[in-house]
Amino acid sequence: MINRSKAYPYLLVAPAIIFLIVVTLYPTLYSLYLAMTRTRMGVMEFVGLRNFRVALNSTEFWQSMRNTLIFTSFYVLLTTVIGYGIALLLNRKLRLTGFFMTIIFLPWVLSEITTGVVWRWMFYQDYGILQNLLGPLFGGYRFIARPEGAMGIVIAATVWRSISFAMLLLLAGLQTVPKEVHEAAAMDGADGWKAFWKITWPLTLPTTIVTIVFMTIQAVNGVGMILSITEGGPGRATEVLGLLMYRQAMQFYNFGYAAAISVTLLFLNLILAAFYIRSLNRETALAG
């Protein structure tokens, strides 16, 4: 009887654990296995760590890694800062808040591929509206044909699309700050920037870190927008690791090599997430 009651909780959680194993753990382990194989002429062979060695010796891989870090840094910084700013404004309960929220959310609900293609068209020479407007201001600079310009377009487009998501998370965080704290601080003479730095910022830091984690993971794994705007070009100037993996798997059917890249991405995600979660724990401990 006692044994049965002890097993009972495990039985209750077993379906959830089995589900997680099937949809998360199994694909992860299968990717690890796949990363150590190579398929040639339909025959799969075990090649150990060869795919990782090839990746580490490949200039394409390292350029993609560099692009991923550049893209992620700008994406996370801009979405968080701009999202925070908009969240602060909307938290003030301005008139037409609902209208502004709808406008801000529009890019998020549109398809990645559709918005990506529109961004691409806007920067075509002769035909692109933004190219025709901005080009003359930058001495005829052709944004989509230059490595820095293309990366700039990709960052701008993805930030534009994702700000609303970051903003929503941060707004939720801002709304958990009790009004009384602000009122008490105001009575003590803390207002404006001082109130922000001493009250709002520390109290919303955990939410901000969670937002940063989300945005980082989104950036590191992002493919759709970049694929539809530049396809990773010009050359490999905007080819991030996610896109390199996609190409190897879905265009070239090099599933082993693609899996090796995906495992690298997994570790990159884990390192970044661990870093942020550690920061979150430290901040929470300090706040406590």
Partner: protein, 448 residues
């Protein structure tokens, strides 16, 4: 104690997952060639063999077109052929639309991951080798060699689809690159040399026009249709006989230099390298570019092209050759049917191919694609009696050259396209060292 039990349960589950992982690839390790005969449909009554013949079974077929789209001539013709096949054989064709640019991916992924595969698929020639590599296609050499239409297949189809007793596809029609030009912009004909392009560029720049537009973006097609013919014009190839890339060559350097000059001097619009297919067509449609390198299929996609050609304001010209070359070339290709490695109804798939390859069925199908039928006798159909087909045949006969082959064609040509895009758009980069680096990378990735 409880945490120990939990750890034990998790450990057992992990072991089970690992076992599952180890078991999964069995489906992938299937060789590309499937020797075993296809499963025969279950007879209704086992004792009476005639019943087997009365149940013709099904054919699961993945094709490119939306058969409900009455405005697409290819879809209409495909549907007509399927309906006629069903009426003639009683076989139920279970058709599913899969877009042409994801067909090979879907089929290969299904083959590698153990997913669902149909009996028959459509595919362009350039994707066949990749699917064979993934173990997705069946060698149907014996079945096709025994078919009535085999002897009537044209040499081009045989050269592309047959190799050493292997055949993984059957071509239905031949198509290829085609240079269209506006006869009012080029009253003396389209320039056929590198120097001719430079001269015309100077003349047309004054009128704010481009010499030509074409797709030269970041994909294999840009290399197959654009760069490779330039390299061929110097008598060189992009791959050696074993299919190993030969990208780091003087011919490739010269071809990229030509494109770079065309880009830097405004002879070709930037969208040729940065745009998608439709973006590269726009300058020819609005007459800001005098020439357009499309293909035999361009009537379908380029607005107004057919009307302009029939009115005589557009003609088909010869392709450009690089300095030092004898003549320009265009690539040639073939549209295929292929039977998958896990087809359950191989006999029905072969019956469908035989029906489709009947000259009477093949001719309207090829015509709906503006291609040249893969059977010589089908070309005798009166629907091919037009200036367009006369000029197309003349172009493909004089200038056509088969697409090169390599076990890693798609992979290496896509990588070349990315490098070429970079080298053309950025004049500060050294072409030779860019190609050297790419060549080493390709050897490391695919041929080491």
């Amino acid at each position: 104690m409880e945490s120990k039990k939990l750890s034990l349960i998790i450990a057992v589950l992990l072991m089970a997952t690992l076992l599952l992982s180890a078991c999964q690839p069995a489906a992938v390790e299937e060789p590309a060639e499937v020797e075993e005969p296809a499963e025969v449909e279950e007879p209704v009554e086992v004792e009476e063999p005639e019943v087997v013949e009365e149940d013709p079974g099904v054919l699961r077929f993945w094709g490119f077109y939306d058969l409900t789209n009455d405005e697409d001539g290819r879809a209409v013709q495909m549907k007509a052929n399927i309906d006629a096949f069903e009426a003639a054989t009683g076989i139920d064709v279970q058709y599913e639309q899969v877009a042409w640019d994801v067909m090979a991916m879907n089929v290969s992924v299904a083959a590698v991951a153990g997913g669902d595969l149909p009996d028959l698929i459509m595919s362009g020639y350039e994707y066949i080798q990749g699917m064979v590599n993934a173990g997705a296609l069946m060698n149907i050499y014996d079945e096709i060699a025994a078919a009535d239409f085999y002897a009537d297949l044209n040499e081009f189809e045989k050269n592309l689809n047959e190799s050493g007793g292997s055949r993984y596809a059957v071509g239905t029609f031949v198509g290829g690159g085609q240079w269209y030009y506006d006869t009012e912009i080029f009253p003396d004909g389209f320039p056929e040399t590198q120097e001719g392009w430079a001269t015309e560029c100077e003349r047309l720049s004054a009128e704010d026009k481009y010499v030509a537009t074409f797709y030269a973006g970041r994909a294999e097609a840009a290399m197959t249709q654009g760069l490779a013919p330039l390299v061929w014009s110097l008598g060189e190839r992009l791959f050696d006989e074993e299919g190993v890339p030969n990208f780091d060559s003087d011919a490739v350097v010269q071809a990229i230099e030509f494109w770079r000059d065309m880009y830097n001097n405004g002879c070709v619009p930037e969208v040729a390298w940065t745009g998608d297919w439709s973006a590269t067509e726009a300058p020819f449609e609005d007459l800001s570019a005098g020439g357009y390198r499309g293909g035999t299929w361009s009537y379908i996609f380029v607005t107004g092209l057919q009307e302009r050609f029939e009115a005589g304001t557009v003609a088909i010209g010869n392709p450009p050759a690089l300095t030092g070359g004898d003549q320009g070339w265009v690539f040639m290709n073939v549209e295929n049917f292929a039977v998958t490695s896990r087809a359950e109804n191989v006999d029905n798939a072969i019956k469908f191919i035989e029906f489709f390859m009947d000259a009477e069925n093949l001719a309207p199908w090829a015509n709906s694609n503006f291609g040249v039928p893969a059977r010589a006798s089908a070309m005798e159909d009166p629907i091919f009696e037009s200036k367009f087909y006369d000029d197309t045949l003349a172009n493909l006969t004089r200038n056509g050259q088969g697409t090169e082959t390599s076990p890693y064609y798609n992979e290496t040509m896509n990588s070349l396209a990315a490098t070429v895009q970079d080298l053309v758009l950025n004049s500060n980069l050294d072409i030779r060292s860019g190609l050297e680096s790419l060549q080493q990378e390709m050897i490391l990735l695919y041929f080491d």
